[in-house]
Amino acid sequence: MSQLRVKVGLGSCGIAAGAQRIYDHLELIHQKNPEQWSLEKTNCIGICYSEPLVHIEFNDELYIYGNITPVGTEQVIESFLQHNTPPSAFLVYSSQLPASENDFINNQVKWALKNCGIINPEKIEEYEQMGGYQAVLKIQKWSPDRIIDEIEKSGLKGRGGGGFLTATKWRLASKQTKKNKYVICNADEGDPGAFMDRSILEGDPHGVLEGMIIAGKAIGATKGIIYCRAEYPLAIKRVQIAIEQAREKNYLGKNIFGIRGFDFDIYIKEGAGAFVCGEETALIASIEGKRGMPSKRPPFPAIKGVWDLPTVINNVETLVNIPTIINKGAENYARLGTEKAKGTKVFAITGKVKKSGLVEVPMGTPISTVIYDICGGTANGNKIKAVQLGGPSGGCVPAHLLDTIIDYDAIIETGAIMGSGGMVVMDESTCMVDVAKFFLTFTQSESCGKCTFCRIGTLRMLEILEKITSGEGEIEDLEILEDLALEIQSNSLCGLGQSAPNPVLSALKYFRDEFEAHIIDKRCPALQCSALIRYEILADRCVGCYQCRKVCPANAIESNDRRIHRIIEENCIRCGACYEKCRFDAIVRS
């Protein structure tokens, strides 16, 4: 009897796509025949657009089935059991056979995501079978300096957006003589449109804990805090389970791993919904129970952080890389990437892209490789207009620069930033003025209000963008936008304000013609800004069904004696209801 292991991808994206229903269904059938095959849970492996996903391990080969139903899964399992062969329907990945997503998986290099979608995140044993918690044992006799030297050799930089050398931060904290110190895992993942950290916490919580333990050993901390946003209930639950399991095995607590004098424990703090709390000084204020307002640095948290104690704050992805770097050797990590950007980076690719999901590639990979070779270009074959990096603090890389490599400096040269890993693909149907307005709406409402330029300057910029998208813009507005942007950048205390104008500046840099079309021609080339869209009924296509007239809320449609309809331009409020309703493609937009 060959071995058949069935694993359902139960990440929150998988569950939203129906994976829990599959698992429940399989559990029922499994009870009837528990010896023949095993049923397990895992997390998302990153092929999010094909979810729900069911992984099948058969004769040591992996087959992944996607876009599948409970009954479909049952049939796939039957086929394995009865015919000993993998069915090809629903097959999305296989290490053996051709399948639609083989390129998506095979073109990646996984360090941070190596366990995601492979192990059951709720079982510490599975993490240990993958070499988990070996890194702590490896460094148990190392001095703090030796640990930090090793991290320094890897060249690892912070993955939370700042790109600061992890070793430098650790060394500063390690030199502090205070007895109590903190390690904080920043799991606030504020960039709206990114989910790398969620996936790592859900899929490999022990990896993050182990990274924190090693950080604790390196700087001499006794406490760790995971600051996680409340929108991630499943991540919080999985981390909680992991912490309890680790405590049970004495991997957390007093004299952990039997190392005399090494006390380290971790607890979770749930965020309460404020983007600015991802900024490290605001995060500290929030942990202390205050309003999450940033404060001036220096003093840096590494010297004076939570409760005035030395504190190292690292991003989830930064931390999950640590155990693997220790296990596989810093020089192997540093071998990947470019001169100044080592290792790999995880990206969450979303928007108008064919294959939306999580992708990990070596630094130095061209953006175009990620978008086209791994993620298959756009969903409907439309031309890509730009790729947005770094969310509300970042900017866009236009289509003609997509060969830019993934490297901190190379990306900054385009006017965007590496950011934390959000990559939003935009095609011809995306209006760049609207996107700029979108990001500014976000930063404006998330500004904590401390600095005048960030609080009011962003509002003024937003008002101008609203004016432009509603067709009332003037050409001088563009200059005012640029002036305001520079003032906000230079007169804000924290990164939120300093970077808030970036999306607007970068849109102006590459897509000024779109702004001008809105202002001068009163036209939105992408047909997104409703106030600037004109509707017209094509007389030769109109069948006179009256449907458009019925839905028009403004009585702006009339019909002639042959029952052919016409839009009365002056009355039209440009809501698009008629356009949506017409089944004969007789209404066109321009």
Binding site: G193, A194, G273, S286, T350, M426
Partner: protein, 172 residues
Amino acid sequence: MHIEKNTNKNLQSTECQIDISALETIIKDCKGVSGGLIPLLQRIQDQFTFIPPQAFKLIDKELNIPESESLGVATFYTQFKLNPTGKYTIKICKGTACHVQNASKIFDAISEYLQIKAGETTDDQLFTLELVSCLGCCSLAPAIMIGEETYGKLDDRSVISIIKEIQSRESK
């Protein structure tokens, strides 16, 4: 999409009927916990679905944290509600990925169907509508969350049928 300021943040003028002793127990429980104000407010909200106005006075009395401070914290974070919320909170994502996939249509459809705006609660106290930035399910954009359940790849029709399903389940 109308992104309105959260109307939920207007303090209620009338004191509402709540179980004061339950409130007292929670607050007294948090005595001496440093940095405990946010978790305390989270616990109160878990119990009452919002932070009742009486809470701020009690926190002042029991924990010596001035009302200005606790109210300041409660109004800073979007998570905290100062008015009762419905049995289900519908969180509509307005993150980047959802925005470029037409999340505003989802919002408009729900808002029109339930006849409430962002931050408001239906008359039958079943639904509260909320806009959030990113639920972490961007690959299934546009996405929403009802209670702790996330739904993705929605359009203006499928989202209404999800709500109708809950309505019919609740009316039984």
